[in-house]
């Protein structure tokens, strides 16, 4: 058993750490403050081959494995969870299902757009009445001649108002329940597609979240992704992979908060010594470090399994559940170490804590992860 990262993975970490330090960290607070999509950095990530990195070379990607993508998301999220989220969504929730389920024609058309074409991708499953119970979506698509006509709306769509390509799920046969759901590749310029409300969120302000609306939206027949009626299975399979991305994001947030707290407590003197020297602080750090290490092993294990092409549903759910809850705990404890300063916007702790919360909610709440884990235990 070898726990060492490969030489290439170490270089990915180094590249992403340098990029994060030089490009992401300096604008992270402003990105949050202004709720601004970090467009320039996303363009640079396209230039570096990070956006869509797991897409094979023949379609413009680098042919990287899921672990490399997880490391990239982790590094970005240490300083800006929004940037990590944009990458996680693009790689895990848009490129991945098209690569896995797309026809040769769909891959040839869309994957180069999502890599060398600098087009951002998104994933649209959630609806107002279909959150954790994703099978209850109302968005419908009907085949009319050579095209599908889609009506309905999706909410909380990450990259919603910046994406060009969406993987969308809609009912094609309401009588069949989950077996009546199909997946589609939808471009933002298709007639009848529009972006609705931009969400104002607690955190992750740089990640553009919006409602998307389909009003008699015309989708070419050939844009059905996978077979008709296989949408629910495609969605669940995609979310398995997406959870590795969110696990990496949670891990990055926790690691970033831990590092900030280490630096702060070493310099903050109270009662005549740095507060890092108090046992209470040290024990808290020990728990933080332990959680980060465990979370890293879980996340990398899930990513490695995905890369091996074996089933990883339970492992991805465990990684996502553990790291997201650890991110919340760590940011809360780290903020406490900063005292009153942590509660101000002069330090990144309050942003990190706000950003951490969503990791326990999206791409399957912590409760849903427990359902997934227990459902895979032969109970």
């Amino acid at each position: 058993m070898d726990f060492n990262l490969s030489r290439e993975h170490l270089l990915v970490r180094k590249m992403m750490a340098e990029f994060t330090e030089n490009e992401v960290k300096p604008i992270a607070a402003e990105t949050d403050e202004k709720s601004e999509y970090p467009r320039e950095n996303i363009e640079k990530l396209f230039d570096l081959g990070v956006m869509g990195m797991c897409v094979p070379k023949e379609y413009g990607g680098a042919g990287a494995d899921p672990l490399a993508s997880a490391i990239a998301i982790e590094e970005l999220s240490k300083q800006c969870a929004s940037t990590g989220d944009i990458l996680a969504t693009h790689n895990g929730l848009c490129c991945d299902p098209i690569l896995t389920h797309g026809t040769p024609e769909q891959k040839a058309k869309y994957l180069p757009m999502l890599t060398t074409g600098h087009k951002v991708g998104a994933f649209a499953l959630t609806e107002p009445n279909a959150g954790s119970d994703a099978s209850k979506g109302q968005t419908e698509a009907k085949l009319e001649g050579d095209h599908w006509v889609m009506n309905g709306s999706k909410i909380f769509i990450t990259n919603g108002y910046v994406a060009d390509v969406f993987v969308v799920f809609a009912m094609t046969d309401k009588t069949k329940g989950t077996k009546g759901i199909s997946a589609f590749i939808v471009e933002k310029d298709f007639p009848g597609f529009s972006v609705g409300k931009h969400e104002v969120k607690m955190g992750l302000h740089g990640s553009p979240t919006a409602e998307i609306v389909f009003t008699d939206c015309i989708i070419p027949k050939e844009n059905l992704l996978g077979r008709e009626g296989k949408g629910f299975s495609i969605a669940m399979q995609t979310l398995d992979g997406g959870r590795i991305g969110i696990a990496a994001q949670g891990l990055g947030i926790a690691e970033g908060a831990l590092e900030e707290a280490k630096n702060y407590t070493k310099g903050r003197v109270q009662f005549g010594k740095p507060i890092s020297k108090f046992q209470n602080t040290q024990f808290t750090f020990a728990d933080m470090e332990l959680g980060c290490e465990a979370g890293r092993l879980l996340t990398y294990q899930a990513a490695w399994l995905k890369g091996q092409g074996v089933r990883y549903t339970k492992e991805a759910a465990m990684a996502k559940l553990f790291t997201s809850e650890h991110a919340m705990k760590t940011t809360t404890k780290a903020l406490q170490m900063f005292g009153g300063y942590g509660y101000t916007k002069d330090y990144p702790m309050e942003r990190m804590m706000r950003d951490a919360k969503i990791t326990e909610i999206y791409e399957g709440t912590s409760e849903v992860q427990r359902i997934v884990i227990s459902a895979n235990m032969g109970l």
């Binding site: 030489r7 290439e8 270089l11 990915v12 180094k14 590249m15 340098e18 990029f19 230039d47 570096l48 081959g49 990070v50 990195m53 070379k57 680098a62 042919g63 990287a64 490399a68």
Partner: protein, 266 residues
């Protein structure tokens, strides 16, 4: 056309600098980086590669772990690398180092259209001697402190940055340029580069490979071939805490003059 870029692995001075009891650097316990000015040389070469499609070869002299730095340069876009490494080369000062690197570069081959690039100086020795010495030993024209480089055919136009201004010089290839940080912002490694770097060629030039080169002789390499003698190296005593006077009025100036007078400085 090809560009040969000399780079050096140096201690990361942003971390802790460890010093042995005898005053020498404890390199084993320190993190290393590619010398910053050398990164500007790599970037300048890669820019010319982007424009002309030329080949970029990175070269370093150092212990085997320096290969990692060469792989990083190839992950940025360099095509191949040469690691010059042998026990016989250990302990070389700038004279011996430039002797060995010049031998390595001429073994790679410098043709009519080629450029050799170096960083201005390394942050560990701060001599700025190796680049110019390589040029002399290879009989190449050299331009130091390059802040801008333009190549047209066999003519290279370089804007040199001096302390009190700029000087623009033209020369013909083959030539050697030393680069400064004002020249460019080095690019990051990229995903395609990272995933292909370990399949790019990295040749090791050991003593056997270079020993018959006219520049290589027991008296010109390693510790024996190094005319520099270090008598003593030490950590200077720490200066006391400075004092900051704020304000721009006459009062502040008078206060400053008073302090300096009290200390018998003025």
């Amino acid at each position: 056309m090809k560009i040969i870029v000399c780079i050096k692995q140096v201690p990361d001075t942003s971390g802790k600098v460890a010093v042995n009891p005898d005053g020498t650097l404890n390199r084993a316990s320190m993190q290393t980086i590619t010398n910053p000015d050398d990164m500007n040389a790599v970037e300048a070469a890669l820019k010319l590669k982007d424009e002309t499609g030329c080949e970029v070869i990175v070269v370093t002299m150092g212990p085997p772990p320096a290969a990692g730095m060469l792989r990083e340069a190839m992950a940025m876009g360099a095509d191949r690398a040469v690691l010059v490494s042998a026990r016989e080369f250990g302990g070389s000062d700038t004279y011996a180092t430039s002797q060995i690197l010049a031998a390595a570069i001429s073994t790679i081959g410098v043709e009519e259209d080629d450029i050799v690039m170096c960083g201005r100086q390394a942050i560990d020795g701060d001599t700025a001697q190796v680049g110019p010495q390589i040029a002399e030993k290879l009989h190449l024209p050299q331009i130091t402190y390059a802040a801008d480089i333009a190549k047209e055919g066999k003519t290279v136009t370089v804007k040199r940055m001096l302390e009190d201004g700029y000087m623009t010089i033209k020369t013909q290839t083959p030539c050697l340029l030393t680069c400064i940080k004002e020249l460019n912002a080095p690019r990051y490694m990229n995903m395609n580069g990272i995933l292909s770097t370990y399949s790019k060629p990295l040749d090791v030039y050991d003593y056997e490979k270079l020993k018959d080169h006219p520049l290589i002789d027991a008296t010109t390499i390693g510790l024996k071939g190094s005319p520099t003698n270090i008598f003593k190296s030490f950590t200077p005593p720490q200066k006391g805490v400075g004092m900051m006077l704020e304000g721009d009025g006459k009062e502040t100036c008078e206060k400053l003059a008073g302090i300096l007078a009290d200390k018998h400085i003025i």
